[in-house]
């Protein structure tokens, strides 16, 4: 008796419990080394970088600070390398790498990058607050898009049509804004009417997606791709005919900024978080509500059951196809709301194909965020930051050609998907129509 029990216990250490996952630390190490070589030693010595955070509305002014560029960049790169060393040690001992290690690593490398870019630029300083404001703002459509994707895919419907939903939302928001502000004479009222109309357009595209995917069992990726083309065709066509003849329907009208009293005067945090328009505030609310609903409520449990194992869900009485249709339409509405970003939140008139592939980036953000609203927000902010960085570098002027800066978010995505995330696991029943 004792021998039979003791034997497996004795044998257990010999069998590897888990393979060592060294890919992530090795990637971090490579990035840290590149940072040291190019950003650290690439900065000529004796130059200085100035950082600025202050805004005129702040309670108290934080003065700009200036650092010697080369030592700072080298120091930050060494910190990054040390962190990747820690990560390697943890992975070697089969321990999980904590998330704050990644955050610290990212902070070190990005600050090194900023130091390098701002080196020797007399008179201009790296506007940290501006960079962060830009990140949040540019991330807005991505957050809405990836939330839409998450909501659909959690119930088992692949939503490639995010791009089309964003575009449809942008179009309807612009037209309704133009029409209402023309009819009522109030631009503000028009902008809010546009914000309300945008989800309807997205929901319509979502409804078409669910009709073909759930009712007719058409391959969901096929429907999504085709719906994108359809929306581009319809909006371009109406832009070239209806909007060209009635220019009052397509004006540059923006949502007013709504600074939250007192809070918006806090340095850095205030301008970034508490001085936006209604759409951005709405984004935070939707992220929080959806995250709680998806993972803490009965509704969320049912949705996830439908996405993972529809037959089991059906057996306990959950209406699989009804859940899917509702989620797809709701997801479409959220993406449509995000589309309002391009027109009313930006204060721009509608332009042909103005979403410019943001729907696909949102799809990447969804996968990077591992199909959760919280993750989607984080991933979208990452992309927004990369975009904002490009704008900032464009202002400061760097040695990197602008085209390579434009590639940055895409390269980062490939790195993240291939190097760090590896095989992301989507909901199990995704893309499969449920046939009783």
């Amino acid at each position: 008796m004792t021998t039979t029990v003791a034997e497996p216990i004795a044998a257990a250490p010999a069998v590897p419990v888990l393979a060592r996952k060294l890919r992530a630390p090795i990637t971090l190490g490579a990035v840290g080394l590149l940072s040291l070589l190019f950003l650290g030693f690439g900065t000529s010595s004796g130059e200085e970088t100035t950082f600025a955070v202050a805004r005129s509305t702040d309670f108290f002014q934080i003065s700009t600070w200036t650092v010697p560029s080369q030592p700072t960049a080298i120091l930050l790169s060494v910190v990054a390398l040390a962190l990747s060393g820690v990560a390697f040690w943890l992975a070697w001992n089969r321990r999980t790498i904590p998330w704050y290690l990644y955050v610290g690593f990212g902070f070190a490398v990005i600050t090194a990058l900023l130091t390098w870019a701002g080196a020797g630029k007399e008179g201009t300083s790296m506007q940290i607050t501006g960079l962060l404001i830009g990140s949040v703002f540019l991330a807005t459509p991505l957050v809405f898009g990836s939330l839409a994707g998450t909501l659909c895919e959690r119930s088992g419907i692949i939503n490639i049509a995010i791009e089309g939903q964003l575009l449809a939302g942008a179009f309807l928001a612009a037209v309704v804004t133009g029409y209402v502000s023309n009819a009522s004479g109030s631009r503000e009222l028009g902008a809010y009417a546009g914000l309300i109309a945008a989800p309807l357009a997205g929901a319509l595209v979502g409804a078409a997606l669910s009709l073909f995917a759930v009712r007719y069992w058409v391959d969901q990726i096929v429907v999504g791709v085709v719906l994108n083309v359809l929306v581009i065709g319809v909006t371009n066509f109406l832009f070239g005919t209806l909007l060209r003849e009635n220019t009052e329907l397509n004006q540059a009208i923006g949502l007013p900024r709504l600074p939250i009293p007192l809070l918006h005067q806090i340095p850095i945090i205030g301008p970034v978080l508490f001085n936006s328009n209604a759409l951005v505030y709405l984004m935070y609310v939707i992220v929080i509500v959806l995250h709680i609903m998806l993972f803490k409520s009965r509704w969320g449990l049912r949705v996830r059951a439908v996405g993972e194992h529809p037959r089991a869900a059906d057996t306990v009485g959950i209406k699989v196809n009804r859940t899917r249709v509702r989620n797809t339409i709701l997801g479409g509405a959220i993406a449509g709301l995000g589309g309002a970003f391009f027109t009313v939140a930006n204060g721009l008139a509608f332009g042909k194909e103005m979403t410019g592939g943001k729907g696909f980036i949102a799809l990447a953000a969804m996968i990077l965020g591992r199909w959760s609203p919280k993750g989607a927000l984080a991933a979208a902010l990452l992309f927004g930051f990369a975009d904002s960085l490009r704008e900032q570098f464009g202002i400061v002027g760097t040695a990197i050609p602008s085209q390579f800066l434009a590639m940055l978010p895409y390269l980062a995505t490939i790195f993240a998907v291939a190097g760090l995330v590896g095989h992301a696991r989507p909901p199990a029943a995704e893309g499969k129509p449920y046939k009783k």
Partner: protein, 403 residues
């Protein structure tokens, strides 16, 4: 089996006629035709909305409704007539050559769609959803074009080398997502989308360099390729159709042989049908992914050659137009089969080729073509919807539709 489905009492002749009618009504071909009809009808709704004459007549609709209907008829007929004349046969032409020129234009536009659609089709059948044809076309055209305008080689050889350049460029850009998928499991939809943007930015960067710019110009446009590297025109000077079209047909035959007759093609299909089963049967799924993506990239590179060596002749960031994305719909419409892809490419080529005529003759934006294209694919993908719209009976033996 037949005894149970057919009523024995029915007279022989009547049964034959009914059987034939039943066959027609239940056939897939009818669905395709009706899908196109339904798309044209829905497209005409947009045409009517856009028509100023219809809106003017609609103001006094209740006093003279006939005017409105006449205006609707004029707008719709005018638009579709313009499309037909722009894509198939121009009856206003003053010679036979001028009359059939639109159709050769259609085939020319279809050429890159055939190439790229074939590549994507192989991917779909191997279970890979490749959205990267756009980037693969761009990189292929860049490499082939560079060879075309820098090197000096004798006539036939130069073309061959330039085409190989296009193939290598496209294959390289397809290989990257292939190996990422095989080695790291990175989702090919994400990596190919990202590589499209990277390719576009890369070419935009290259076009700022002197080696890629016309001498004495700072515009982002390359020099023209040498005539020795151009695809020869196969129907003479007055028609745009070039050798690339014949190569595309040959490629379609080659892909058919590969997928239907070769061991490799069988492995691709097995991996697409069930990767786990294929792995259990001893096939290398990773190898299949890499090969399929590289092959798809090579074919997209050939699509790039049709653009740079056939029609455009100089490199801009717009060299791929939207062929890479259109090819996705082409491959889907052709159900990823070579013959279907060729037919779908010619249909879409015709729709695209009709754009200028639509704009000039009917005064409509070319984007209506996109609407009709996407509606066709949607309807064809959902035969029950078409049957419902046209009140056709559902077939008795429903086959599973593999998209």
């Amino acid at each position: 089996m037949s005894a149970t489905t057919e009523a024995p009492a029915t007279p022989e002749k009547d049964r034959d006629a009914r059987g034939m009618l039943k066959e027609i009504v239940e056939s897939q071909t009818l669905v395709v035709i009706l899908a196109i009809v339904a798309s044209l009808i829905l497209g005409s709704v947009l045409i009517v909305i856009a028509s100023a004459e219809v809106r003017e007549a609609a103001v006094y609709f209740f006093s003279r409704p006939g005017d409105t209907f006449a205006a609707i008829g004029d707008a719709v007929v005018g638009a579709y007539q313009a499309m037909f004349q722009g894509a198939v046969f121009n009856s206003n032409g003053n010679s036979f050559a001028a009359q059939i020129k639109p159709f050769t234009q259609t085939l020319t536009v279809a050429t890159p769609l055939i190439f790229a659609g074939l590549g994507l089709g192989i991917g779909f059948r191997a279970g890979l959803f490749n959205i990267g044809a756009q980037g693969q076309i761009v990189i292929g055209a860049t490499l082939g074009g560079f060879i075309g305008w820098t090197w000096e080689l004798p006539a036939g050889l130069h073309l061959l080398v330039a085409v190989i350049g296009c193939v290598v460029g496209g294959a390289l850009w397809g290989f990257i997502p292939g190996i990422l998928k095989a080695r790291t499991g990175a989702h090919e939809v994400i990596t190919t989308i990202m590589l499209n943007y990277i390719a576009l930015n890369l070419v935009a960067f290259l076009l700022t360099k002197d080696a890629f710019q016309r001498p004495g110009s700072d515009n982002p446009q390359s020099p023209l390729i040498h005539e020795t590297a151009e695809y020869p025109l196969i129907l003479g000077e007055q028609f745009p159709l070039h050798l690339g079209f014949l190569i595309a047909l040959a490629a379609a035959a080659g892909v058919w042989w590969l997928m239907e007759r070769s061991t490799l093609g069988f492995q691709f299909r097995a991996v697409g049908a069930n990767p786990s089963a294929a792995r259990t049967a001893g096939m290398s799924v990773a190898k299949a992914y890499i090969l399929v993506m590289t092959l798809a990239g090579a074919l997209a590179g050939l699509a790039g050659s049709a653009q740079i060596l056939g029609t455009e002749k100089s490199l801009t960031t717009d060299v791929a137009a939207s062929f890479g994305f259109d090819a996705i719909t082409v491959a889907l419409l052709g159900r990823s089969r070579p013959v279907g892809t060729v037919m779908a490419a010619i249909l879409f080529g015709g729709l695209r080729a009709s754009g200028p005529a639509l704009q000039v003759q009917a005064g409509l934006p070319v984007d209506i073509v996109l609407v009709i294209q996407s509606l066709i694919v949607l309807f064809i993908a959902a035969p029950p919807l078409v049957r419902f719209l046209f009140r056709l009976p559902t077939p008795t033996n429903v086959k599973e539709v593999a998209a």
